[in-house]
């Protein structure tokens, strides 16, 4: 296979030199009679546009090199050319399964830059919406893990509940998937009126769907055979690779940014942090299932706190129309459903950020993919990829 390329507007000089120094194929080749299997960007089990170039010996994987960048849209460069409030809809498209968490992370980063403290009612509304988004994200992840392993039915039970959550989002800020919730300084709208009747019913149906999924999968012998012991990963390696979120908690490290560096009003609600032991696919699945349960508890408590506030409590802090933060640079991270989602913003005093860097949680996890999968079988590769919850929008930005 030969690759030819054409460059418009730039001379071909220096290309040859670059070819020498950069390996165009997949890096140094192992000696041996291995079959190269390209699990390409278009594949039923790839979550978005991911590519894995594997070398297999029969069914066992000798090497698996992931290749990313198919969904790179230059979000960070866009951020340098848009104002702070114009950048908010772009943050939706990062982790599109739980867009609200990205929005709130960005808003909180800018508020840290400005030195603002958001009123309590807005904080509680943000918490409720973020936890609903967390439940939605975990539902998709567990459902897709089942689909990739052949259990096609639990996906439907979970997706139906996700539709109900979408309904709440639509009532609140008008969009189902790419939410652009809130604004820098607070939240624009109060909780919708229909939320107050819907929530008691929704929490029961979410629990019921989780229960049914649990009954179908957790003690199923075939499921246990497929997931227990697959991709076991030790905690030291995980920390060295920069894992955060459910992946790290499955390895046994009890670390959650909502408890370690509490933001919004997370220090006023009680919840547990489920942790696994071996870091295998089963532990990641169980951590996500239990986290859904904890999110329901958090929403209940946040809702109770919300009801104590007066009706006309302020929703937004006074923020100038054109936001011009002082010069400086900050980093702020929250616990998104996938892990530590951080925004580094450097401001030069103008109304556009000078540099925005997004720290995607699945970036650090996916670079360890080869270590995770080496020596396992092709079916395990698929199971591993689904359990990592790699979302291409966040990975490539």
């Amino acid at each position: 296979m030969s690759i030819q390329f054409s460059l418009k507007g730039k001379g071909g000089k220096g290309v040859a030199k670059q070819l020498e120094t950069i390996c165009i194929t997949t890096g140094p080749v192992e000696v041996g009679d291995y079959v190269t299997l390209n699990i390409g960007p278009i594949h039923p089990a790839m979550h978005g546009t991911l590519r894995v170039i594997t070398k297999t010996d029969g069914e066992t994987i000798v090497s698996a090199k992931p290749e990313i960048g198919y969904l790179h849209r230059g979000v960070e460069k866009l951020g340098e050319n848009l104002t702070y409030s114009q950048f908010l809809p772009i943050t939706d498209r990062l982790n599109y399964c739980s867009a609200i968490c990205n929005n709130v992370a960005y808003e909180m980063a800018v508020e840290k830059l400005l030195g603002l403290q958001v009123p309590p009612k807005a904080q509680l509304i943000r918490m409720i919406m973020m936890e609903l988004a967390r439940i939605a994200d975990h539902q998709v992840c567990v459902g897709i893990l089942g689909v990739d392993l052949g259990a096609l039915t639990p996906f439907f039970y979970l997706i139906i509940q996700r539709e109900e959550i979408y309904e709440i989002f639509e009532w609140h800020h008008g969009a189902r998937l790419t939410n652009s919730m809130g604004a820098i300084g607070g939240v624009e709208a109060d909780l919708p009126e229909r939320f107050h009747e819907k929530w008691p019913k929704l929490r029961d149906t979410i629990r019921k769907a989780n229960d049914e999924t649990d009954k179908l999968l957790t003690h199923n012998r075939i499921w246990m055979d497929r997931t227990i012991g697959v991709n076991a990963f030790c905690a030291d390696d995980a920390l060295n690779w920069g894992f955060t979120g459910p992946m790290l908690r499955a390895c046994g490290v009890k670390r959650d940014l909502r408890k370690e560096e509490p933001y919004l009003m997370y220090d006023e609600v009680n919840f547990e942090i489920p942790t696994g032991k071996h870091g295998d696919v089963f532990d990641r699945y169980m951590v996500r299932m239990l986290e859904m349960e904890e999110s329901v508890k958090i929403i209940d408590q946040a809702y109770a706190l919300y009801k104590e506030l007066p009706e006309d409590a302020p929703l937004m802090k006074k923020v100038p129309k054109i936001i011009k933060p002082p010069e400086g640079q900050i980093y702020h991270a929250i616990e998104s459903p996938n892990g530590e989602l951080g925004f580094f913003i450097k401001s030069d005093g103008s109304d556009k950020p000078y540099r925005i860097k997004i720290r995607p949680p699945c970036y650090m996890v996916y670079q360890a993919f080869e270590d995770l999968v080496k020596g396992e079988m092709i079916s395990d590769l698929i199971a591993c990829l689904s359990s990592l919850n790699v979302i291409a929008g966040e990975l490539d930005r």
Partner: protein, 185 residues
């Protein structure tokens, strides 16, 4: 002991500058000593988690500062004797975000990289988490990392020539396309 004092204590003369803004501490260290500084911070400082690694291009910032200075010099009728004495500031910065798992303190470590010497030693020996971020810095800014196991482009395609996140690369791009011709055996 506050974080500032502890860091100053550990690094000693490796600490070139220190800046605090809204509770975030950012320190600057010299380029050639970055691996040793990070190793010291990891072992003695307790900063055992690398959260992120990225680059910043300061071209526009210096251009704006130079313009402002020129304007203020013209206003105060300075003869411009001091202009030539300033050396060119290093164009790029590479920032390492560290986190201490036990005390939950965060630290930003900054290194300045001049345009004519775009090379840094890699820290993949200390943290494997630096693998892809360093590739991305190479891809987006052109800064090479000596000793990196697999320094190829990450987000852009392999034959791409330019470095997109630099300030002199336009937002719309320069119209590069990628053509692949496969010979079918």
């Amino acid at each position: 002991m506050s974080l500032k004092d502890r860091v100053a204590d550990i690094l000693g003369k490796d600490l070139v500058a220190l800046n605090e803004f809204r509770g975030d501490l950012c320190i600057e260290v010299p380029k050639g000593r970055i691996v040793q500084v990070l190793a010291k911070l990891k072992e003695e400082g307790g900063f055992d988690f690398l959260s992120d690694l990225f680059g910043v291009d300061n071209l526009d910032l210096y251009a704006k500062a130079a313009k402002k200075k020129k304007k203020s010099q013209e206003e105060s009728e300075d003869t411009g004797e001091t202009k030539g004495k300033e050396s060119v500031q290093p164009r790029f910065e590479v920032i390492y975000l560290l986190l201490s798992l036990s005390t939950n303190e965060r630290l930003q470590v900054m290194v300045r990289v001049p345009e004519d010497d775009l090379e840094l030693p890699t820290v993949t020996g200390l943290w494997k988490a630096a693998n892809w971020p360093e590739r991305e810095v190479f891809d987006m800014f052109g800064i090479r990392f000596k000793g990196h196991p697999n320094l190829r482009r990450l987000l852009m395609w392999d034959e791409f020539q330019d470095h997109p996140l630099r300030k002199d690369y336009p937002l719309e791009g320069k119209g590069e396309e990628r053509h692949l011709n496969y010979d079918i055996a």
